[in-house]
């Protein structure tokens, strides 16, 4: 690891000044479980390690019935899944944050870092996308908000521009009769990187027989996590057990998947998994919506 300076600013403004003074030579530190590993492997060289964990906004975790769930970008995964409102109202966030790495990783690694690292196989983004997550960004030109599905631009790449920081991720209050579910496929039970993953959210009719609207997202099957609008559209207005609609949604996920073959899986396997995981995530989301 090359030598660098360290700063732990206590305000967003201070962090922004340090970030712009660093001229692109700054490593932004939340939990560090990706960044420190990258620094050790000399994949990145930095002049300044900028620790965001002393900034109140980046470690905030709160819920309000009117404004929804607010997760500071540096909030650790375990703080998220141990937050009672998350387990009761946003279980899809428990699904993903509780299987990012080991317990040791979850106690440091943050959802914001998982998003900013922008791995195509990251386990956070699909659930964040289907839950309507919004990324709150602040930079030298002020604040802006980007829908999670629009945040990613390529492997390790996002819409974050030089001098910008992800400060928080916000989620709307779940609609009545709604449910969401995330799962991934790995060859073992834990501590692995997704061969493919998927998340689905649904809003059911009051009698819980019909899917009024749905969102489907898949990961590890394209250069970025994908919102599959066609899959959601295939389910909208259909009965919860409409096999043709469910199969149409799975087909839409398979069609959207543009995976590569690598050590974890082949193109053929990943396309197949995009369909299988979409089906299982639909079933999980509908089940949770029925129980809601």
């Amino acid at each position: 690891m090359n030598a660098f300076d360290y700063a732990a600013p206590q305000s967003v403004d201070e962090a922004l000044s340090l970030l712009s003074a660093g001229n692109g030579n700054v490593g932004v530190l939340a939990g560090g479980t990706d960044l420190i590993a990258q620094l050790k492997e000399n994949k990145r060289q930095i002049g300044l390690l900028l620790d965001l964990k002393k900034i109140p906004e980046t470690t905030a975790l709160s819920f309000d019935e009117g404004s929804g769930l607010h997760i500071g970008a540096a909030t650790a995964c375990s703080d998220i899944y141990n937050f009672d409102v998350v387990s009761s109202r946003y279980p899809a966030l428990v699904d993903c944050t509780s299987l990012i790495g080991s317990v040791q990783i979850q106690n440091r690694g943050s959802l914001g870092g998982n998003i900013c690292n922008a791995s195509p196989a990251a386990d956070g983004p699909p659930a964040v996308i289907v839950l309507g997550g919004v990324c709150n960004i602040i930079g030298p030109n002020g604040a802006r908000s980007v829908a999670a599905e629009d945040f990613f631009t390529g492997p390790g790449q996002s819409v974050l521009e030089a001098g910008e920081l992800l400060i928080s991720v916000e989620f709307p209050t779940p609609a009545a009769n709604s449910g969401a579910f995330f799962l991934r496929f790995i060859p073992r039970n834990e501590m692995d990187i997704a061969v493919a993953n998927a998340a689905v959210s649904v809003v059911l009719s009051d009698d819980k027989s019909t899917i009024e609207s749905a969102r489907v997202a898949i990961g590890a099957v394209a250069p970025t996590p994908l919102l599959v609008a066609d899959a959601g559209a295939a389910l909208a207005g259909k009965a919860v057990d409409d096999e043709d609609a469910i199969e149409a949604a799975c087909a839409a996920s398979r069609a959207a998947a543009k995976p590569i073959t690598d050590m974890r899986g082949t193109i053929e396997q990943r396309v197949h998994l995009a369909g299988v995981l979409t089906r299982r995530a639909i079933e999980g989301a509908v089940q949770r919506a029925k129980e809601s």
């Binding site: 030598a3 660098f4 300076d5 360290y6 080991s102 317990v103 040791q104 440091r108 501590m191």
Partner: protein, 158 residues
Amino acid sequence: MAGKVHVTTTINGESVEFLCEPRQTILEVLRDQLDLTGTKEGCSNGNCGACSIQVNGDVIDSCLMMAVEAEGQDLQTIEGVADPEGLHPLQQKFLEHAALQCGICTPGFIMAAKALLEKEPNPSEERIRLYLAGNLCRCTGYDKIVRAVQDAASVMAK
């Protein structure tokens, strides 16, 4: 060149001060400066858990925490687990069940299992296996480790 940083922290209940470079991990400082070599370095990238310590009660990989981040935190390492009266029940049960062979992974397993039992005194076997998934052992096949943790949990419940 970056200067050294003065850090004040608590390690095993005692206030500790050290100087470190910002690029040093807390694992490096524990082992190379503070002579707390019970914490082991394995993969050094967050996969094996050999370097597990507790920070404010939570188990973490010390290879992925910078030493400067220890400022104001409460750290516990394997050196602080036994007390003057004797071994911690987890240590005693690891011995009784022969839950180690080469021993390199053992301090990390003890720290992770200790964090688990402090938060969940009566975990199921499945829960123990899941919680300890971030600790790798290449000798035992894990069964003896899991049985040692189960036995320690039952002793600690009394």
